[in-house]
Symmetry: C2
Subunit: 377 residues, 2 copies
DNA sequence: CTGTTAGCGCATTCAC
DNA sequence: GTGAATGCGCTAACAG
């Protein structure tokens, strides 16, 4: 049979078939300049006849460029590898990288061994540039990139590595939505802060504090140890006794800010099933600002279970505008960040650096965030 | 400065520094057999002194093996690139591939150009094996792998490509959960079928039909055109007039199956807010079987909005046991599939094939599914 | 145990 | 325009 396991054809086979030297074939392959139409034609036929495809390794070895960019995702082993935001960023990066002629390949570092393997790979000229998505503040990892020849762009500012990075205005976003709650008449807010290892969590926390100004009470902050939904539930549970009395907040807002104490109707939460557990104090918490959507989702669930109505009794806000923001009931008022743009911007920055465009060290770009007004606040 | 942009050191530089020939260094690098402790020591020092790291391209060129496996995700351009199930599968595959000494790299084909680029790459001995996650039935894509030397394993059976594949017992899973509803006394079920381009959707549909047997009514099937949440809402909306009267189903079940017509209490849905739109017929639909969790989520939402109580009036089931199954209210009774195991199994199968283990053509393995009993049904 | 040598498949000078 | 030669960095087979 002719479909026997014959070896893969090389550029020489093609040359022989076309009756030219393999140097000419190579030229044909790379732009086709300086090759006669006649020869080109014969080479084309030979290529398709031989089913020739150039070998990747040989190419990158010869030209000393991989034409590839690696997107590295670093997560703790137990976490979901690819969150929605990262997925969106990948889409964006893949697009602009592809348009620029680069192949994006993504690598996952979620265990010690995989991390080690990837680090070794990075040292071996695996790609022409690197996009680093490390969700944690594990600078050891990023640190390992210091002596890599190829440029690196990070997805998060913070830590004190000198890499260019693209991130969102986390501080400002959290500030904005907190102010929004305050302006709407909410008086006392619980802040559920993201995990301490995350620079992002810290930035958002700063935004909250700034918005609260004098009214900031450290006691009204819950420090979560992950970004996951349970933290929202746990936080609300822990602060259970400190929430406003159901109905009080709504009435307060309706009646104007200062008459809060006077009004304390216990009605309103009728069908929803307020049980005995709900005590509530008149000057209690009437708003929960969460460091991300998942946590907010958990907070809403718990509040609802406890008999509070969201947002009538207690407002809740998220952060990220992830897909689940639309899944909660009521839908989440949250801070939107365009993750696809995040990926695009990172890729563009990386391309610029690879092209040798000058930029100061510690170059960072901050992408804007906007409030998505929905039902929960 | 010594940190000037000097060229990357090669194996020869190391050899020179260690005072040995570079053949010896190569041996040291690959296992260290047949190299004296003395030389080894000097080489080790030279390597760390020169900050030497072997070049990837040169290695794969010389050994004619990449030691990499590419996981290719093919999605329509507008879809979320990495769904939760794929993310989990990636985790599994990455683990076993890594343990076997392979680097997993994932490639995304979501546009025509990226697909084309990847196909070209695949033809260039980019990896030693391929894991193909194509959510659609686009066999053209898979077809392109026919003449690839390296082995391929697909994530989905169906189509008529001769590739080994790993999938779940979709048919049986849908059968099981449908029977479960029937056995619980539900009389008339609406089936919301996944998009027609998906073999998985078809398999599940078959399971539903088999479970229904004589009771199957083609008119009680809604054909969604994507896997997304809106389809659940749309389906329920379209069948609005054909649902059971609120309260009827619960009473029916409680009173025993055959007295259904006699009982038709209109109560029960009190606080939930049954509005005028809810007519309901006594022998109406009292269960909704959905082809996936997202759709089920939409169905529940719509039903709730229409004033039905889930599961008292209408039961709803999902499929996949994705993370959002826990986010719905009530939590979703669904069919669980272990996506991480999916990835692991695919990777193991691929490794076996790469190792030359014999297996018949069209080799496929089906992973089990189990029912997750939660609140919605 | 170690040095030498011949490729791996291709890009890229050079002469012609 | 085209062919021949050299090298990319490394592995592997071979003598010694």
């Amino acid at each position: 049979m002719s479909t026997m396991m014959r070896k893969k054809p090389t550029i020489r086979d093609v040359a022989q078939l076309a009756g030219v030297s393999y140097g000419t074939v190579s030229r044909y392959l790379n732009g086709g300049e300086h090759v006669s139409p006649d020869a080109a034609e014969r080479i084309a036929q030979a290529i398709s006849k031989a089913q020739y495809t150039p070998n990747n390794a040989a190419r990158t070895l010869a030209r000393q460029r991989t034409h590839a960019v690696a997107l590295i995702i670093q997560v703790e082993s137990n976490e979901t590898i690819v969150q929605a935001s990262v997925s969106a960023a990948m889409t964006g990066a893949n697009q602009v990288l592809g348009d620029a002629g680069y192949q994006m390949v993504t690598l996952i570092a979620n265990t010690e061994s995989s991390t080690e393997r990837i680090l070794r790979l990075v040292g071996s000229d695996f790609a022409d540039g690197y996009l680093l998505f490390s969700m944690s503040n594990d600078d050891q990892f990023a640190e390992s990139f210091r002596n890599v020849g190829a440029p690196v762009v990070r997805s998060e500012i913070g830590g004190d590595l000198p890499y260019p990075a693209v991130d969102f205005t986390n501080e400002q976003g959290q500030y904005d939505i907190t102010r929004y709650l305050l302006d709407k008449g909410r008086r006392r807010l619980l802040y559920i802060c993201g995990p301490g290892y995350s620079p992002t969590a810290l930035n958002r926390y700063e935004g909250f504090k700034r918005a609260m100004g004098d009214q900031f009470r450290e006691g009204d902050v819950y420090f979560a140890d992950s970004w996951e939904i349970d933290n929202g539930e746990m936080a609300v549970a822990e602060f259970e006794s400190r929430f406003v009395r159901p109905g009080a907040a709504a009435a307060r807002v309706a009646a104007g800010a200062d008459s809060a104490d006077a009004v304390a109707a216990d009605s309103g939460a009728a069908g929803a099933g307020v049980d005995a557990a709900v005590a509530g104090v008149a000057d209690g918490i009437d708003g929960v600002v969460c460091a991300n959507d998942d946590i907010a989702m958990g907070a809403i669930r718990r509040l609802t279970h406890m008999g509070y109505r969201v947002p009538e009794d207690v407002s809740v806000t998220g952060f990220d505008d992830s897909p689940i923001a639309l899944l909660s009931d009521p839908k989440l008022t949250t801070v939107r960040q365009d993750s696809q743009l995040h990926g695009e911007t990172m890729a563009r920055l990386l391309l610029d650096i690879m092209d040798g465009k000058p930029l100061g060290e510690r170059h960072t770009v901050l992408l804007p965030t906007t409030i998505m007004h929905r039902r929960s606040a």
